[in-house]
């Protein structure tokens, strides 16, 4: 009992977590208090950190959870004649211990303990050991109504659709990607691959092994959107690969003026998230009004780039738990909703795995494969980079294109080759 009391005195600031296990182990307190009569009992109870409580009976259930020992002491104390209601505030100190405690223990004076501040020697002398319990106050909030749920857009049922646009350009918001100057050799080819660019309202996926150039293509797309098209970009960086210096380097190739460079950089809004829950939170905030706030520099948000969505989803997959798959489909659903409702183009990157036959496949499995509308596979071998269109609803066959990330533009470099569809 002595040791337990001392340790709990030392950890005065810790709270009940430290104090309770020590108390739980020691059942001698209970036994010690049982034999004492009320009059001669050297039990004083001072309530600590329960300033709001005036009723001793209401404390008992809260403290009873801390252990059977304390509850028995409380029961004991409520019958103690000397205790008045003023003694209940502001601290509880457990004392007692009979012969084992003796006088060797010191009384720690709680700072805002009225009992301890009392100068009545009779009171203080009767305290043998002090155990400070930090009992959390039950939070009593005034009921202000049910918590506000996030505003989900209600399911839209349109009786008739608006009249179709005269040109295809208007409702699809066709726009071009990645025409930074040092991608010039491959830029037109990459755009041809994607059927003249990234489409709004759908998810495009870039998959590739490490060093294949996925992040570089994302940078190029962000820079192009921010500078040429003067629209805002939201860049969600999960792998820590984004550096403003690289973006500035890409911008310097496009324009020499510092104001334009700064303006373009200001239009790129970066979010760094490193786990799936913060990604869901970030996307949710964007959905619930963040996209309007994020539109800086006059343009609205036109692209949301999530660099390496697989880096945060793949740790949650595997094993028998379904939670990882469910979180992945939630991310997919949120991205699709953002793309459709706000008419933005979503670009995500993915890693690659090997299939059963040894062929290179995009990662994250079969369930994710239904999510993006267009998938491009980037590969690098022998110094040449190739991009293959794996899935598209516009280009029916698998087109390969070669591109290059060099500073000086090499016109005419790169081939556009088609493959006969063999179902591979």
């Amino acid at each position: 009992m002595q040791a337990a009391a001392q340790t709990t005195q030392c950890s005065k600031a810790e709270g009940e977590k430290r104090g309770t296990p020590a108390l739980r182990k020691d059942t001698s307190v209970d036994a010690a208090l049982e034999g004492k009569s009320l009059r001669s009992a050297r039990a004083r109870l001072i309530l600590y950190n329960l300033a709001r409580h005036n009723e001793p009976s209401s404390i008992a259930p809260a403290v009873a959870a801390q252990g059977p020992v304390i509850s028995s002491i409380l029961r004991f104390a409520s019958r103690a004649p000397k205790l008045t209601s003023s003694c209940w505030q502001p601290a509880i100190e457990l004392s007692g211990g009979g012969g084992g405690g003796g006088g060797g223990t010191r009384v720690q004076k709680a700072a805002n303990c009225s009992f301890c501040q009392s100068t009545d020697p009779d009171d203080l002398a009767s305290v043998d050991a002090a155990v400070l319990i930090n009992i959390p106050q039950p939070r009593r909030k005034r009921f202000t109504g049910f918590p506000r749920l996030p505003d989900h857009p209600p399911p839209r049922a349109s009786a008739s659709l608006p009249p179709p646009p005269r040109t295809l350009m208007e409702s699809g918001r066709l726009w071009r990607t990645s025409s930074a100057a040092h991608l010039k050799a491959g830029e037109t080819l990459l755009d041809k691959l994607l059927d003249s660019g990234l489409y709004t309202g759908e998810i495009t996926e870039l998959s590739g092994g490490p060093g294949a150039g996925k992040s570089q293509v994302c940078f190029a797309a962000a820079v192009h959107t921010a500078h040429r098209l003067r629209q805002s970009v939201i860049y969600v960086d999960t792998a820590g690969g984004l550096s403003a210096g690289r973006l500035l380097q890409m911008l310097r190739v496009q324009t020499d003026q510092t104001e334009e460079q700064m303006e373009a950089l200001q239009r790129i809004r970066v979010f760094r998230v490193f786990d799936i829950f913060s990604l869901l939170g970030c996307l949710h905030d964007l959905r619930c009004g963040g996209l309007q706030q994020a539109s800086l520099g006059g343009g609205s948000v036109k692209a949301v780039i999530v660099d390496s969505v697989s880096a945060i989803i793949s740790p949650t997959l595997g094993g028998k738990q379904n939670e990882g798959m469910s979180l992945m489909m939630q991310v997919a659903g949120t991205l699709k909703t953002i793309a459709k409702d706000f008419n933005v183009a979503v670009l995500v990157t993915n890693h690659v795995t090997r299939g059963a036959g040894g062929e290179v496949l995009a990662g994250l499995g079969l369930s994710w494969s239904h999510v993006p509308r267009t998938r491009v596979l980037l590969e690098r071998s022998e110094g040449r980079r190739t991009a293959t269109l794996v899935k598209s609803s516009r280009q029916p066959c698998r087109i390969k294109a070669e591109f290059d990330f060099n500073r000086e533009s090499r016109p005419g470099e790169g081939r556009l080759g088609g493959e006969r569809a063999t179902g591979s």
């Binding site: 989900h152 399911p155 659709l161 009249p163 079969l366 239904h370 179902g423």
Partner: protein, 309 residues
Amino acid sequence: MTETGAQLFARLDARRSLADIEPSLFPEACGPQHGEVVELHGLEGTGKTELLYHLLCRCILPAEAGGMAVEVVFVDTDYSLDMLRLVTILENRLAAGLSTSRPESSGECSEEAALQSCLSRLLVVHCGSSSQLLLTLHYLETSLSSRPRLSLLLIDSISAFYWQDRCGGGESVARQEDKLIKCSELLARLLRDYRITVFATSHAIRRNYKNFDSSSSSSSSPSYAEYEQPYLCRPWQRLVTHRLLCSRGTAGANMAAAAACAEKQSRRQAFTVHCTSSSSSSSSSSSSKGTKAHKSSCFYVTDGGVVFI
């Protein structure tokens, strides 16, 4: 709920049968009758949504352009409805159809008006969760009773919330499948009461390792039998009468025809659809109730939609 005889007649008889919606897809005389459900199952990129667009256009186009002029409800759970693509297909087919039927009056305004009338026959609903899907199906009942020409319900896709439901249901399988079971029961009631037809897509996410043998692993295209494992709840599987398994590449049976066409259009990716119909009221040679009819067909995708080989 009471209804007059006229209303009963209007409810039961007015809807157009869609048995002839696409004869090249379904076996002989086994097209989707009233109250039947067709499920399109397949991997990604195998043309399920394209087939839905094809069927959709077939329904909403006017009779001159080769359609049936019925109304369609499209329940989009995947957010994959691409209006650009749909309008492209409609324009191509209207241009082809109207120019052959009325070559003198094919002006721009009449095409525009035709497109408007086509699109007015389409209702689109987006759903974000399975509870929203359930509520949407409840809401559909009022639409169905007020529109006698509504005969087709397209759901793309019914398996979009599978993983969310599985996680939300915790450990008990009954709770996991609860919402989809309720949707299936509601659909069964709608099919029985209003005699509509339902086409639904579902993603293939389960690999059937039992049928997987090493000889087929060397082939480049995965055969449909590998991925046809049904995983949705039992009430839904009981509801499905026709199952279309979609895959990429051409199956062996149609190799000759496919090769001939493939030479002409060397850049087309061909898709295969294998249909399994278990309709109990088939009047063909199968006499017992449990037999199934099969058919395979190939198609490729053009700007004007799906073209069958």
